[in-house]
Symmetry: D2
Subunit: 495 residues, 4 copies
């Protein structure tokens, strides 16, 4: 098939270009190519481009080759790529007069573009399954901990009391958007490029919508040029994965701190920890380190893919093959991240006593105290803030715990700042300083009070279920399409 060229491919070309593609073929593409081939042949027969006899022989031979599998194929890298190897094997089986007709009305360009979309579709749908699974696990943990009080932080300094459940539910909600971005890729991805041929379509009366249907596509990529020139669905998929990777790196960073000796509020299970070869006491939460770091890999993959496409002519070319290449490692890395996060979260031990102790002893409830002054004493918020600010400074200076604050101490500050005492009752002071009572009053939508957290979790579960139904439908789709193809092959007496 290299009639035009007088030399076989150079060793370097075989080693650095054809071999990597051959590996991909065996792992992913062979099975998909056989599917596409059969859909294409069936369409050619239905459109009268091939006779039923030729179609029958082709389908028969293709099914034999499919049965034998990629391993059954002798792969000669000098035949450029796997398609040529397969066609070669096909012609060896059924002769040139039949085998030489399969490629009518298409090209390796649209065939390749089609296989890539099929492979990415499979990988994406599987990946979404994992992502949804992780969120289910986070929401379950969150539901267990809607009343597990802990300090909440801004700028990593204790800010106000919150719960471990509210924290986990909030992360799950961020991951819901991450999933939605992945879902958004699907309609742009699940379109049929087949029939675009080299890029300019064909004069044969092919029907692109017909093959779309048997391959489980939602429609066709409209322009034949766009169909072979564009891989932007890969770029956006990589971007969505990188953003998700960053969300998970943030969760991992929190858990990483919290299982330090200094925090000590959570502990990872032994089965995700690593020990030391010389420090007998060590229990290292290495999964969290890998989760953090792999966000970097995912970001690298976006760059690799987009930089490969930058300033490439808008046409079919090998640069686009390279633009897709980073996706497969990115899927593997991101899968690892999801599995490792899920496993780590599942086994997490939570030190509720210590969490509550910290939330009580630090200054987390200072804001609530200011709010109480506003509500009970009708102070302007800024004035209440000023009084409590002085109080905090005084407590710190005296080395007291925040819980030691009394109504008298508040009055001392109030006199200093606004010129008169406020005489809060002990009950009022206690209501402000007790993180549990403080939290209970947080009625604003989405706040960390237990009822609001439960509402968040319930809302997140609804949305998860909705996404789950979509993903399940997509998971079933390819097989349904393949069955439809098989039925039609039988109906056309081609099998």
């Amino acid at each position: 098939m290299r009639e035009r060229l007088t030399l076989p491919p150079a060793d370097e070309v075989v080693e650095y270009l054809f071999k990597p593609r051959a590996l991909a073929f065996i792992e992913r593409d062979f099975r998909l190519m056989m599917w596409v081939n059969q859909a294409h042949v069936l369409m050619l027969v239905r459109q009268g481009i091939l006779t039923r006899d030729v179609g029958h022989s082709l389908i028969h031979a293709l099914r034999e080759l499919e049965q034998e599998g990629a391993e059954g194929l002798t792969l000669d890298p000098h035949l450029e790529d796997l398609y040529f190897n397969l066609e070669h094997a096909l012609i060896a089986k059924v002769g040139m007069d039949v085998g030489g007709r399969m490629h009518t009305g298409r090209s390796r360009n649209d065939l390749g573009a089609t296989m890539t979309r099929l492979a990415v579709r499979e990988a994406l749908v599987d990946f979404l399954g994992l992502q949804l699974g992780l969120r289910a696990c986070l929401l379950e943990k969150a539901a267990e901990h809607t009343e597990t009080v802990m300090p909440g932080y801004t700028h990593l300094q204790p800010a106000q009391p919150t719960t471990f459940g509210h924290y986990l539910a909030s992360v799950a909600l961020a991951l819901e958007r991450d999933a939605q971005r992945l879902l958004d890729v699907y309609p742009r991805l699940n379109l049929n490029p087949l029939g675009a041929c080299a890029f300019a379509g064909t004069g044969f009366p092919i029907d692109r919508a017909m093959t779309a249907q048997w391959l489980g596509f939602d429609g066709i990529v409209d322009s034949t040029l766009d169909a072979v020139a564009s891989r932007d669905y890969v770029s956006e998929l990589l971007a969505a994965m990188a953003i998700m990777g960053v969300t998970l790196s943030r969760l991992a960073q929190d858990l990483y701190l919290w299982c330090s000796g200094e925090w000590g509020t959570v502990e990872v299970a032994d089965d995700v920890a690593m020990t030391s070869s010389i420090m007998p006491q060590k229990k290292n939460p290495i999964t969290l380190e890998h989760i953090k770091a792999k966000a970097g890999h995912l970001l690298g993959a976006v760059v690799a893919s987009l930089a490969a496409q930058k300033a490439v002519n808008f046409m079919h070319c090998s640069d686009m093959w390279e633009a897709v290449a980073p996706l497969w490692d990115a899927f593997a890395q991101a899968q690892g991240v999801l599995h490792l996060t899920r496993r780590t979260v599942l086994g997490l031990q939570v030190n509720q006593t210590l969490m509550l102790e910290r939330a009580t002893q630090d200054f987390s409830t200072a804001t609530e105290l200011a709010d109480v002054l506003v509500r009970e004493k009708d102070l302007p918020f800024r004035m209440a803030h000023g009084i409590v600010g002085s109080l905090v400074a005084r407590v710190l200076q005296q080395g007291l715990p925040w819980r030691a604050v009394t109504s008298t101490m508040i009055d001392d500050c109030a006199r200093e700042v606004i010129g008169h005492a406020l005489s809060l009752s002990d009950e009022q002071v206690d209501r402000a300083l007790d993180p549990l009572r403080n939290l209970a009053g947080k009625h604003a939508a989405g706040s960390p009070s237990a009822p609001e957290t439960q509402r968040l979790i319930s809302r997140a579960r609804d949305q998860l279920a909705r996404q789950q139904r979509t993903v399940e439908a997509w998971q079933a789709r390819p097989q349904q399409a393949r069955h439809a193809l098989d039925r039609e092959l039988a109906a056309q007496q081609l099998t």
Copy 2:
């Protein structure tokens, strides 16, 4: 307001942190902050958290400050940020007892998150307007050139005839997906974080949905933590812009080659060209170079933002401010790209004669000749390909133009490859070799025949109109919300 701290901000902090924020404030945030303030005060009054009197004084003072503008505000960088400066000015105007109450039930954290979303929303909607405008321009050019035949390329080698119109329509379709990705960001962006306060909501009976409505949001960010901790809408916006930048770099690369002396099929207008200080003949298409290169800047912005967020604790913190920072320059760069592309395309001169000549003289129609052998002589495609392959090699060897091919030459090759002649008629040979007739036969969906290209353009215009309607609705939305706020302020007798 820095009661807790005994030292003013260091010079370095003022110079490298507070000043850049102050600039942003004056340019973008002041106007938005005044809007948020009024919506917040109105809600506080409606919820009974502030009295109507206090509300009235606050609104009155805020409107005065709004009138005076950002320039009217004395900005003391030692007051940390602009919010404190504004509150300071407010209190100076109406006294602590009124001014000190505005900040009840919120925090700078949610206020900042809200202003950022409002500012990004505005910028995104404007940007979409530009993007749609560019596509309208490309589709108009495409419609003018549905019969402008030129060589189509794969691997930058002439492949098959196509038209300039089909090329432009295909790029416009790729840009349609680029716009759709930008549109997809909107529902995740246009949600209200206000009321999240520091991150843990509040015990005041605020109504987050109410302010959402007056600020033109579609709803609230559910979790109060997520509301202040997450900026993933910025990351995805940057990713969508970078992907669009790459699409445009590919268009630019094509035009760049085509206006080289060697290609010469298009020429940019003088008003987008630059001359040389020493080479009198030069006319340099510099806009295309900048368009290509700025794709790199957009990619850099994605990296800057995501790397800034990597492994940051899931909470409110200044890292998130830095994660947003690259967006503004990215908008400016991407706007430049859209403007420059539009202007360059608008003025493009197309050398139709040369395009057709090239498409005729090169080997673009070889595939069609093979297809003719398949259709007319019932050869298997692979065999036809083999014959034409030999023919091409022979023509190249003899230094003939492709158009010189005759039926006899085909027969010579056929005899060599398959052992017998094929005796195509002159008419059949001509039909294959004439790029115009060749193209006319490309009936497959999305092919470059004129009718199919017109169908593509028409479909692209429908979709453009649909996106346009969405964008227009979004453009009108903020003003409608602001009017509703004003009406309600009046109804509540606060103005």
Copy 3:
């Protein structure tokens, strides 16, 4: 000068391309261009290409323009760029017959490449001064804390005792390599592109080495094409800055944790902290957050620059202007990082008591205990590790502090693991468990014992001084070159 073109630049071109360049010109390039112009004119006179009279008039006029400054120049953006504006002003001053001769034997291409190198050289040398200053500050702090014992971490778990001084000295040593990479750029940067003209040199008998000397360059960029086509020194500079940014983000991350409430071993000064608008107790270490995040910006700048250059023809073109553009913001960001880090470290308060307490109570000395078993009882290391491993597990189970370990407890474990007791003396146990004595024994090169840390600091200071001398020489160089130019201008009677 746009004789060849019939239209003035389009508004979009002026707005998005010429204006940004004009700003750069006024800020950075004007002064440098005047310097280059005078060096070039002097060389033309010395080489006999211009007469002394013409040279005298040109130099006189240039010095007038230099005096008037960039502000004195009327900038017409329609004259494409600032060079044309300047030449225009020059011709207005001295007439075409003199002013029209200045550009002999050069082009805007090499002129631009030269100004960029001069500007980058200045910025780099200043930046190195800052970087070295930060290290001096870190080493001073390190020297104060060579005996400030604290827990050392691996995987963020307490591992072995170390000192704050050893920690800071180690970071300073990493920053030494970061500086060395920046220094390595200089010899590749400080070469003269002038005389490359458009890219192909010139037939005028210019002397490129001569201008190199008066501009303070170490030599010429050998190839005239390479001189205008390459900006790889910018890429490597950005990479070196990004790597340094990452080093500092790691230092910031450590300090960030250590000043959390849970760690509490360091505290930032009030003048680098920010407060909260609603939480009266807050003291937020925001400089550390910005330092972390800005590493992301620096990484984005590398990507922006390299992606802009990817697949650009090897020639002079505007893509290269865009490849340089991210450098200026990167310098600003990186300067901010250095200033903020220095200020934050300078004011850092260290809680030595708490550090020592932590190092004593956690299991940091478990490894030393195993080592003592090896040294004193001649156990194989792996066996000693096994015994101490059991001991740690037991202590944890019993909820004891590590310091409570006794010889008897060790014997219990030893009997279990190796079948017999070891009977360590109390003194031996104490030597192992006391972090101070433990550290004192760390004699291996570069270990955290005080003497080894002092040796590290002293070695780092030597290297700092060496780098300092280099940087100072580079700082003096431009002025020396300019003086030499002025002297020669006088000697040639051109001033």
Copy 4:
């Protein structure tokens, strides 16, 4: 060795963390670990930390294991990593009392850091060999083509005549800097981290300089913390590779255009071209596409590595393992790029006739004509530029080739622009318009005249030879070190 932990590693941990490391171990690390082990044991014996008997048994067993190879080792992933597997095998061979002593005075942390440096050193030195080989090939081609005239471009528009040789030599000079950056990494890389142990050194009287010597290191990483915490040499290596990738993408982009049908000035050999499955005429220069695109992958690897390190605590941790991981694929990609570039350049066919024709017919010599007016008629350059500018416009308008310009035509323009004729002789006009004579006059240093190009090539070859000698010394170094180790082992009677 996981005494402290009660659970075996989870399946996810084995699958996603331990398995990838195990693969790396078998491929790269086993051999290196055996080397390090022997150097370490020898040092322990020489320092009196182990007895000669123990040392002898250990060395004997290690050599047996070395002989058996990585395949001989039963790898139990539940033993965490390969070091534990190896120690396990060692203890199985020689018993705990001997085998348990090997790990005295070190840790997996410094061992891992050491193996990584050794592996990277090997890979870097090999890679440099390839890089230098490519440059030798480019310089040879350049030397063949110092008189092969072709149009030179700026902004992809014909600018001035140059030669193919000058072009290739210029690219080779850019690649010289790319190599120098890779060479600059070596002194920072080739330092010994061994003896840093977990990060805090050890109380055993080890000698780090001694193992450095037997492992071929130039010295030690001074700080024990820095030794295990830093991998910046990986980041800078990746950056240097990415910069080189971009240089090669630019060369590839030029060749890619030049072998288009429209340019046609070069043609790639058949053995690096790919054909089409449907277009019989196609000969696709795919290697150039892959070379361009792989620059994107290398840029992605920089980002992956630096983003993985961003904001990681300055200590030993698994994030650093992830920061190194992208290096291995980057080496493979960059090697592919070097091989493919070399092969493509080697087989390049150059159409010298067409190149010269283009350089003659386009306006490349217009600048020289202006220079002739300056030199021969003493016009100011700007005035000469104006006249030639008018001339170019006129020639274009009349559709004439540039070579048709006559003295009369010049005078017509001169009269128009400056009011009088110039009366150039035919010889003067011809000298200006003939690209060969034009080039011959380019005497300025580094210009494309043949003698200057030869000087450039000769200078580049000197520098190549210098780099070559350095690389060869580095190539020999490890084996010399290993021999020294073997000799000393024998001298100490340990073998």
